[in-house]
């Protein structure tokens, strides 16, 4: 077992921040994920090693509300490389009040398959 077959990650699944080790065999197949304290960490290790994804939270403009910005999130994690693009696309989006928590403000952003949903009521 040589060290270059082991990759290190820090699980971001919860504030505990377990230190993970992902071990691959000679054909780049994951043989083991170690260091997690719960199953979510094992899944995260595999995912992070093969296809890292992040939830995106940002704001969009809102008209006719007491505040200028409405907080939103993606309905599911998007590929890490798309995070910046998602935020850039949302920067100019404007919705109208009232909005309810959970409302979809934009479907399938940047072809990621994730919807953008409001994270609060705002009127």
């Amino acid at each position: 077992m040589t060290d270059d077959r082991i990759s290190h990650y820090l699980c971001i699944g919860c504030p505990l921040g377990c230190r993970l080790e992902v071990e691959e065999d000679a054909r780049d197949t994951i043989v083991e994920v170690r260091g997690w304290s719960c199953k979510k960490g094992e899944r995260y290790g595999r995912q992070e090693h093969t296809d890292p994804r992040r939830m995106v939270t940002t704001t969009v403009g809102i008209e006719g509300a007491a505040l200028a910005r409405l907080p939103v999130k993606t309905s599911q994690p998007v590929p890490k490389g798309q995070v910046t693009e998602v935020c850039r696309l949302l920067r100019t989006l404007k919705v109208s009040a009232p909005v309810r928590m959970g409302d979809v403000v934009l479907a399938d952003i940047a072809g990621s398959g994730a919807d953008v949903v409001a994270t609060r009521d705002l009127s």
């Binding site: 820090l10 699980c11 504030p15 704001t59 907080p71 999130k73 910046t84 920067r91 928590m101 009521d121």
Partner: protein
């Protein structure tokens, strides 16, 4: 908008909660759960929910709701529960004073000054950010120097960007979160500077807020000087020596128009001080019993006003307990007084609560003074718990069951974190 306005302010309440952030909302629910009748939450902002509305990132609620929520979702869910339980929420109102007879002087947006009486009070005023004055950075006093939380508020609620190129001093969680937030809004973050040799925020935030965006973190470094007449033009940064003084020969300048400070929170205890409850000089918050009662009869406290928490879930949990005990107090069911004092010993900065009872299980929160690996927490000789590491930035939580105290007859327990 789900702002709750008390329809008609009553003259007397069972429980009045000062502060409508996550601590105050949980406390009100706890008081209701234990049968308190008339409950009022007072908040100075336009809507209750506190800092959560501007914490638009995810990471809240894993303990309490068993799912990962954003700050606004967490606030809204709590607020909905509070309003469902017919708890009065009075916003745009400032608690100006509380006296020993638990009379509260309120300055309300609508009705001017009102005095109300409470059978029990819960202090839930939270905390505020430390500012430039707390760390005395030399240099000019231009615009563009602000706390990370203030920047968060203007960006996330009002849609203003604080500048074009920022430096962040301090690696607290709010600073890390803002490093990512500013980057995603198109502001360049030149780096995060931390005077301590270790980061102050959660490791997950170092990864997902800094590493993900290649933002450098400089440990054992600080901002040595601020330059600029009207607006910040640049800052001088430098590594620090063992006494945490900048080493001039190794300093360099960074062009920027914004300096964010993420250098810690201070419990907001002006009201507590006026009222005369005793404060712990280490936490800067009230000394509390296991029922979160302060040194003053019928006055309870929970959340960041007592000590600074890392996670809102713990704020809610502790304040729920404060509220429950306020409820027990007003219904005449207050549990027997604590009989054991906890005293922070080796590598323990503080413990909350300050006293416990040998008859009930307790959750104890503590903070260590310095990092340590492979160590144990010792409660006198009655209990020892192994930990793989401890870190000043991470609060240690542990539960003490009454069975461990069965054969303990003393009145004080020393709490120590020692190497194994």
């Amino acid at each position: 908008m789900i702002t709750g306005q008390a329809t008609q302010l009553k003259g007397r309440y069972d429980v009045v909660v000062a502060g409508g952030g996550p601590a105050g909302l949980a406390a009100a629910l706890g008081a209701r759960e234990q049968g308190a009748q008339r409950i009022l939450v007072v908040d100075r902002e336009r809507e209750a929910g506190g800092i959560l509305w501007q914490c638009i990132h995810a990471g809240f609620g894993l303990h309490h709701f068993k799912e990962e929520l954003t700050g606004p979702e967490y606030a809204q869910r709590y607020l909905e529960q509070v309003l469902e339980k017919e708890i009065d929420v009075l916003t745009d109102t400032f608690v100006a004073d509380i006296d020993r007879d638990r009379r509260l002087k309120l300055m309300t947006g609508r009705e001017g000054i009102r005095v109300i009486e409470a059978n029990a009070v819960v202090l839930a005023m939270g905390a505020r950010e430390r500012t430039r004055g707390a760390v005395r950075i030399p240099g000019t006093r231009p615009a563009g120097v602000m706390t990370a939380g203030f920047a968060q508020k203007v960006v996330n609620l009002h849609g203003y960007l604080p500048g074009r190129r920022a430096v962040i001093l301090g690696s607290g969680d709010i600073g890390l979160i803002m490093a990512r937030r500013l980057t995603l809004e198109g502001i360049e973050v030149a780096g995060v500077f931390e005077i301590m040799p270790h980061a102050n925020g959660l490791s997950r935030n170092i990864v997902q807020c800094l590493h993900d965006f290649d933002i450098p973190l400089y440990l054992s470094h600080t901002v040595a000087e601020i330059h600029g007449r009207e607006r910040v033009e640049k800052v001088t940064v430098a590594p620090v020596d063992a006494q945490m003084r900048p080493i001039p020969g190794k300093a360099w300048d960074i062009d920027c128009d914004t300096l964010l400070l993420s250098i810690g929170l201070i419990p907001e205890n002006e009201l507590s001080r006026q009222l005369g409850v005793r404060l712990d000089p280490v936490t800067n918050g009230p000394i509390v019993s296991s029922g979160m009662e302060t040194t003053m009869d019928g006055v309870f406290a929970g959340g960041n006003v007592v000590h600074i928490h890392d996670l809102v879930d713990f704020v809610s949990q502790e304040s729920l307990l404060a509220g429950r005990n306020a409820g027990l107090y007003v219904t005449g069911n207050r549990p027997p007084t604590d009989n054991i004092r906890l005293s922070p010993g080796e590598n323990v900065a503080y413990c909350v609560p300050h006293t416990i009872s040998s008859e009930r299980p307790h959750t104890i929160y503590l903070r260590v003074r310095r990092p340590m690996e492979k160590c144990s927490i010792r409660f006198g000789t009655v209990l020892e718990k192994k930990l793989s590491y401890v870190f000043p930035a991470e609060m240690v939580t542990l539960t003490v069951q009454p069975k461990f105290l069965e054969n303990f007859h003393g009145d004080a327990l020393s709490v120590d974190v020692v190497a194994r």
